[in-house]
């Protein structure tokens, strides 16, 4: 029993990190240009196909070299998409950009079949096997997902808090005009954002390939649930996106035990709707609410006079 619980917690945290990375990946773009990337599901899929279909199978490269090349190629693709879609369309009516990213997703979806064929691909000897400890058998892929996600999140944190371009991107997300008035090139900042976002999609495609296999719909569920994670955490904030992802991953896995298995996927969406109804600002809203209550209590006690 204890073993099963541990297993569920580890896989819950791993999926939580997957949702968190998805939420981070689209929140970055939302913050940089106020647009949602509706093609992100297919960008993740593209990562999976380039990794298994092109690098490993067609080019015969090692797993690690394939992963590196995939991430680099996705970054370059991100820069390209920034220049042809996000920069020109960011000041147009939202609908135009929405349609453009939806179409990009469709093009990639169809292109995937043409280029890599209709049969699902599976990476061989990649993050396969299990770890056994304390009576639990945990798929290695889940453990690697957690490690990779923690590294990516730490690197992002360093980038945004310690480097000049990172701090500049934070300011662009707060106020674009004021950022331009600081001498920040907002277009360059959008290009960097798209590169980062697409690289994260590439990583997601790689690390989820052993779990979902590489196929057209491999990322459909995680893309939707990653969106839920963002709403649950609090839209537009990176730490909130991560918190939302983890909460969702764990709640969902526990619900999978308590409720009949068919309800498992519904839990994410139900949770999102609950948050939209009762705390539209997500966990951030809940936190602010609790803080306000504490402030009020303190004020009533006369400890703080404002």
């Amino acid at each position: 029993m204890q073993g099963i619980l541990l297993q569920l917690i580890v896989s819950g945290i791993a999926m939580g990190f997957v949702y968190a990375l998805v939420a981070v990946e689209y929140t970055l773009i939302w913050n940089a240009c106020g647009l949602l990337n509706f093609s992100h599901e297919k960008i993740i899929m593209l990562g999976g196909y380039v990794f298994v279909g092109t690098c490993i199978t067609a080019l015969g490269m090692s797993n690690i070299m394939s992963a590196i090349l995939t991430i680099i190629l996705l970054g370059i693709f991100g820069a390209l998409i920034a220049v042809i879609i996000f920069i020109p369309l960011r000041n147009q009516t939202r609908l135009i950009a929405v349609v453009a990213t939806v179409m990009l997703g469709q093009i990639l979806n169809e292109a995937a079949v043409l280029v890599w064929g209709p049969v699902a691909l599976m990476p061989k000897n990649f993050l396969s096997g299990v770890f056994t400890f304390m009576g639990a058998t945990v798929a290695k892929s889940y453990v690697y997902i957690i490690i990779v996600a923690v590294i990516i999140i730490a690197l992002l944190e360093l980038f945004f808090k310690k480097t000049k371009p990172g701090k500049g991107m934070t300011c662009v997300s707060i106020n674009k005009t004021a950022s331009a008035l600081m001498g920040i090139n907002v277009k360059v900042s959008i290009v960097i954002t798209l590169i980062l976002s697409f690289m994260i999609c590439g990583v997601l495609g790689i690390i989820t390939a052993p779990i979902f296999t590489v196929k057209q719909q491999m990322a459909t569920m995680i893309a939707l649930k990653g969106f839920c994670a963002g709403v649950i955490g609090g839209f537009g904030s990176l730490p909130a996106a991560i918190a939302g992802g983890l909460v969702l991953g764990i709640v969902e896995n526990i619900a999978g035990v308590v409720l009949p298995a068919v309800f498992k996927d519904a839990v994410a969406f139900a949770l999102m709707i609950l948050f939209m109804l009762f705390s539209p600002k997500g966990l951030v809203g809940v936190r602010d609410h609790v803080r306000n209550l504490q402030e009020n209590r303190k004020q009533k006690k006369g400890k703080v006079n404002i």
């Binding site: 701090k167 005009t177 004021a178 331009a180 008035l181 600081m182 001498g183 090139n185 907002v186």
Partner: protein
């Protein structure tokens, strides 16, 4: 050093500037006064490339900068401290300052020197340097916006209604620093104000704007005793 020739600026179909000309020379303080909605901020934003004039030209040090992107204009040494300060609320005071220097490639040592200079000029920012800018009072945010503007060592700095919403004692402090910036740091200053008396006493020359046009210009000392100005802007 900065010359604006006959610019016309629209927001959609609404014309906000109907052919405005304006200039500022080295070491001057030039003020622009006018009622709310006269087009003062639009003139500033047109200079900075935040909004684009439909016609007319903006020349800086003999170079046409009318169509340069905003960040390049900042790189040339023109800085605009916007109306409403626009500090980055969820970023620390010191990081706000660092962003002010974004267009320059300063070493960490030079940056630290600049921070110290700003903290000497605005001591209250030093105490609050690790605080998020959004937690500062209105006056402190204005000080931060000014200091942030100075971080790139500009040649011209343009202040848009720096006294807006501040207590009179803080307004005096802000104007005191603006004069210091001009006299001690040798930076040319454009001062946009609704507070006409403060603007006229602080500046060398003044432009009066009404409905998207310059209706009067001249030495501030002359305008302050001009009857129509007295009546319309000084309430005398």
């Amino acid at each position: 050093m900065l010359q604006v020739d006959n610019i016309v600026t629209y927001y959609g179909n609404a014309c906000a500037l109907h052919g405005v000309s304006f200039r500022i020379e080295e070491n001057e303080i030039v003020s622009i006064i006018g009622a709310n909605g006269a087009g003062k901020s639009t003139l500033m934003k047109s200079i900075m490339g935040v909004v684009r004039p439909r016609s007319g030209a903006i020349t800086y040090q003999g170079e046409n900068i009318t169509n340069l992107p905003t960040h390049k204009i900042v790189g040339k040494g023109i800085v605009y401290v916007p109306e409403g300060r626009d500090v980055f609320a969820t970023v620390s005071v010191q990081d706000n300052l660092e962003m002010g220097a974004y267009s320059r490639k300063f070493s960490q040592k030079e940056l630290n020197g600049l921070y110290e200079e700003m903290y000497t000029m605005f001591p209250r920012l030093k105490e609050r340097r690790k605080q998020m800018a959004g937690t500062l009072s209105g006056g402190e945010q204005q000080m931060l916006a000014i200091a942030r503007g100075l971080m790139s060592k500009p040649e011209i700095i343009m202040f848009d209604e720096p006294s807006l919403g501040l207590a009179p004692i803080i307004v005096d402090e802000v104007f005191d620093r603006i004069k210091y910036i001009n006299q001690e740091l040798g930076i040319s200053v454009v001062l946009v104000e609704q507070n006409a008396y403060m603007a006229l006493t602080a500046s060398n020359r003044c432009y009066v704007m009404e409905n998207g046009k310059i209706t009067k210009e001249g030495k501030s000392s002359d305008l302050i005793s001009d009857d129509s100005i007295k009546e319309a802007y000084l309430g005398m």
